[in-house]
Structures are given as structure tokens and as C-alpha cells.
């Protein structure tokens, strides 16, 4: 396959599907109880140096509890998939967890502004970067989920984003058209937050799935955090609702409000005030250290963090906001 052009970015993961097959061959397919604490799941399955991916869309259905736990346990030298990574990126940057990133969208929190902490870290030169786009990273996960070394796409061509990527341009043998090849991305470990899961890991997501169905299939190890555990009977009652099957899953952690302060569709809206507190605290690095101590390092778990920010009462307000109940709640 003649390569016409190639990006100068480094490919941070191995796209070889046979190497992935060897890994998956050994992965247990037994439908056994995988419930454990988030602390144990992170300790067992997330290692220094691993390449990590996080499900959701930055501050929507994102396993923020798991991000806190990864920072709390002091993981270092990780690779990271910055796929519309917003508040998750902010948290992981605060812990300086990673030293190499595939970038599609980082630092920003969409309409909320940019994270000073993430920006400082990314401008420090401490982090190796390779450029992509949201669809590129989605397509790279899709290639891995398909068990092939790449898929072709028609974006990225002609730009500096391509030049700093690790993609390649080839000519299509059917049409003569130039195509971008997106190399398969098999993360070592990923965390996805879902609405419901059984003890084996069979999981349901409500609303948009973003790139999580491909991510669940692409990743070598998968931790599911779930708003609530449900019975296997309930899973089997309507198998159309399952989008992540148990054999992909290594750990199931019940973490109520696990996406807080992000938005969990059909559960609770994002806590915009608290997200602003993050952005504000980050402006002064010393003050931010205190903020992190309070919100992450001195918290035993996510429940303590929730208590710190209003507990059930606040969660109920965010629930009302999610469901557009009480218009005054929406007006902040």
C-alpha cells in the first residue's frame, strides 16, 4: 500500500490486531460477579504507564469519580486519549497523570472556558502530543473494535492536524481518491459510566452513546462505573437495551452520582457553579493545591466529595434541573 504522505506524530499505541487478539484470547469470558469498590478496580486495572481512555463527552456521562480515584492513587506516566476530554482532562491534568496524549479536544470546557491548570500542563513541554480530531479518535476506536489495523476516512486531509498526526494518506484502489487512514487505537484500560449494569458487566446507556460502544470493544481492560446495579433477570428481560456485554468488562463499580459534577442524562444536570469553582481555583497554582487536597486527596471516595458539595440536597436540585422541573432552578 503506497503511502503518499504521513504525519510526523508518534503513534502512542500498537495498532496490530493480532497482538490485540492474543490479549483478548486470554481474557476471561466467564459470566462471574465482577462487583468491587472503585478503589480496588483502579488499583487492580489501572497501572502506571498504561494508555487510558475515558468514556462520555468531557462533562457528560463521564466517570469523574474514577478520574478522582486515579489522581488520588497517584498514577503517573500514562498515555491518554483526549477525545472531547473536558472536565476529565482537567482532573487528570491536575494529577499530572499522563505524559503523552492523543489530542482531539483538550483543555477547554466548551462554553465554560479553558482550564488554566490543563493549559499550564500542556504548555509545560512535559507532555508528548499527537494531533487528531474527534471523529478521527472515534474512527480509531472503531477500527480497533472491528479488529482491523485502520479504517479510512475523508477528514483531516490537507491540514496541519494531519501533519502532526500519526495517520497516513493513501490512494483508494477502487476510486483513486486520497484517503486518511486512521490507525486502530486499543487503549490498555478504559472507564465508562453507565446508567445500569448487572454484576457481570452487562450495561445499559440511555441517551447519546458518543463513542462508548466502540471504546468498550476497543479497550483491553474495561471498568464500568454505574449509577445503579440491576439484576441479570432485568438485563435478560430486554436484551435490546444492552449495549456493552459482560465479556468486555473487568470490573463493575456502583458509584451513584459517578459523573458529578458533570451531567448524567436522565439523572442529574451538571453543577455549573462547582465547575466554575474548579476554573477559578486553578488560576492560582498554590490555591489550587489546597483545592485539590480538599476535593480529591482528602476525600476517601466520591461519596465524600458529593457530601462536600451539598450532598443529596444538591443532587436533588441537579435532578430537578435535568428534568426541567422548577424553572427557577434552571435560572442560575
Amino acid at each position: 500500500m503506497d503511502v503518499i504522505e504521513e504525519g510526523i506524530g508518534r503513534l502512542l499505541t500498537d495498532p496490530d490486531p493480532d497482538n490485540a487478539r492474543e490479549f483478548f484470547r486470554k481474557k476471561s469470558r466467564k459470566m462471574v460477579d465482577k462487583v468491587m469498590s472503585l478503589k480496588d478496580a483502579i488499583a487492580r486495572f489501572v497501572h502506571d504507564g498504561d494508555y487510558l481512555a475515558i468514556g462520555g463527552f468531557g462533562a457528560i456521562r463521564t466517570p469523574i469519580a474514577a478520574c478522582h480515584e486515579i489522581v488520588r492513587q497517584g498514577r503517573k506516566n500514562m498515555g491518554f486519549a483526549g477525545h472531547t476530554s473536558t472536565h476529565d482532562f482537567e482532573v487528570l491534568s491536575a494529577g499530572e497523570v499522563f505524559n503523552r496524549v492523543d489530542i482531539a479536544y483538550i483543555i477547554g470546557l466548551e462554553a465554560r472556558g479553558l482550564s488554566p491548570c490543563a493549559r499550564r500542563y500542556m504548555e509545560s513541554g512535559k507532555v508528548e502530543i499527537t494531533e487528531w480530531t474527534n471523529y478521527s479518535l472515534a474512527a480509531r476506536l472503531k477500527a480497533a473494535a472491528m479488529g482491523v489495523p485502520f479504517v479510512p476516512t475523508r477528514n483531516v486531509l490537507g491540514t496541519d492536524t494531519f501533519h502532526y498526526s500519526a495517520g497516513k494518506v493513501v490512494k483508494c484502489p477502487f476510486t483513486g481518491k486520497r484517503l486518511m487512514l486512521q490507525p486502530a487505537l486499543y487503549p490498555d484500560v478504559s472507564v465508562i459510566h453507565v446508567h445500569e449494569a448487572d454484576i457481570y458487566g452487562n450495561s445499559r446507556i440511555k441517551g447519546i452513546t458518543i463513542s462508548d460502544l466502540d471504546l468498550a470493544r476497543a479497550t483491553k481492560r474495561l471498568i464500568i462505573t454505574t449509577e445503579r446495579l440491576i439484576s441479570n433477570d432485568e438485563i435478560r428481560r430486554d436484551p435490546s437495551l444492552t449495549s456493552i456485554p459482560f465479556y468486555l468488562v473487568d470490573a463493575v463499580c456502583e458509584v451513584r452520582y459517578g459523573a458529578y459534577p458533570g451531567n448524567m442524562p436522565y439523572e442529574y444536570f451538571s453543577d455549573e457553579e462547582h465547575l466554575q469553582e474548579w476554573l477559578k481555583a486553578e488560576r492560582d497554582p498554590d490555591a489550587f493545591k489546597e483545592f485539590l487536597k480538599l476535593n480529591i486527596y482528602d476525600c476517601k471516595d466520591h461519596a465524600e466529595y458529593i457530601e462536600l458539595h451539598g450532598g443529596i440536597k444538591r443532587m436533588n436540585e441537579l435532578r430537578a434541573k435535568e428534568f426541567l422541573i422548577h424553572k427557577e432552578v434552571n435560572n442560575d
Binding site: R112, I129, N134, Y135, S136, G158, N263
Partner: protein, 256 residues
Amino acid sequence: MTNYNVMEMMITVAARELEDGATVGVGTGAPCAAAMLAQKTGSPNLVIMFEAGGVSPLLPEMPISVGDSRTFYKAVMASGMCDIMETCCRGFVDYTFLGGAQIDMYGNLNSTRIGPDHQRPKVRFPGSGGANDFASFCWRMMVITPQDKRRFVEKVDFITTPGWLEGGDSRAKSGLPLGAGPYKIITNMGVMDFEPETKRMRVVSINPGYSFKDIQDNCGFELLKAPKMAETKPPTDKELSILRNEVDPYRYIIGR
């Protein structure tokens, strides 16, 4: 010019570009407001799509994120990113609105970095997100941005998102889908499109109170003039009323 502000003007101009029955991939902020305004004025059948998966929601309020609950509130489908991006790639999506820290005369956008050292940039921005994808796939890419010399530059520090690349037929030669590209650039001072052959930016419409010279003075490269430059029609009372009372009642986007 007394009864509307700059943001209201830009949103209204953008909304008028969205004909009934078109599809548009939007982000948060002004583009979303423009799409909502279009739906409530001449284009009730405008289909709004969000890159994270929301299709044609009945938006109860402005989304904060292109993936938050509002983007699929009473939507016809809550899908995923590949589905939306591939729908764009198949040619189903007519318009998109994008932005960036810098734009050049061919409509190329930079949202990645300022400074020459990629691994240690002077200023690091978020990167492409879905911008490169939308600009590659959607038929007509539009930009809503303030007219400013630091934004409209001779050469962007980094082409994050493709415009007409180096102009002429360079975009077609790159392998990007044929026939798609930058369409309109909407600023506080006027509206630009692109000369069909060279693909260089040119002024097609000047906002009331501004001159071509004003636009050129606030642009870092030489602008062409369209054969006929019109005066941009300001928002009507009806457009303003809908924008203020129905689209953005809390004035998140249009300001106070």
C-alpha cells in the same frame, strides 16, 4: 443600529442563511442561537444535529455542551458521534458553523496553538474537536467571529480545520470530499464569501455603519470585493423579538 447589538446582528444574518429543510451541524453559543432563530422564523423544518449524537431536539434552552441533555431533549434520535459524523461524510448535512483563534484568506482555521514549537506551544488551544470533521464533510461551512486583525491573519500558525487550503483547486486535490468548503464568514462588520476561482475571501455585504475600509482595516490580509456588495439587512423587529424572547430569554449569548 440603535435597537440591536453586534451579536444579535450576527446571529440574525447567520439564521437567514439556513433555508427551510436544510440540515446543520452546530456547536454551542451563537451557531445554536442562529439555528434556533431560523427554526422559529422561516425554516421550521431546519434539522439541527449535534456531534455527540443529538438529532433534531426540541431545545428547551441553550445547551452548555454539544453533548448535554438538552441536545437530545425530545429529539427524534439520540445517537452517537460516529453516526453523526458519518452522516455528514455521506453528504447529508448542508451547513456547519465553526470558529477559531485565527482564520486566513482561504477560510482555514486555527484552534490548536500559537507559536512555532508544537510540543511546547506558546499558547495551547483545545485542538480540532469536531471542527475539522464538520468542515471536511458538511457542504457549507460558516464562521461567526469578530472582525479583528489578530484573528484574520495572513497565515494561521496551524491549520486545524480546512478551509480552501491554499486556494484554487488545492482542496479538491487534497482528497477532502468534493464540492464542500467554506461558504460565509459573518462578522460584526460584514459578510464575506469566497471568490469561486481563487477561493480568496471577499466582502459580499457590509453591515450598516461600516465601510469596506473598516473591514479591510480590521483584517490582516487583502480582501477582495464581490462584484456587487450589498448592505447587510439589520434584524427586523420580529427577528429581534423572537431572538430575545424565545431563543435566548436569559441573554446568555446575546448579552445584556
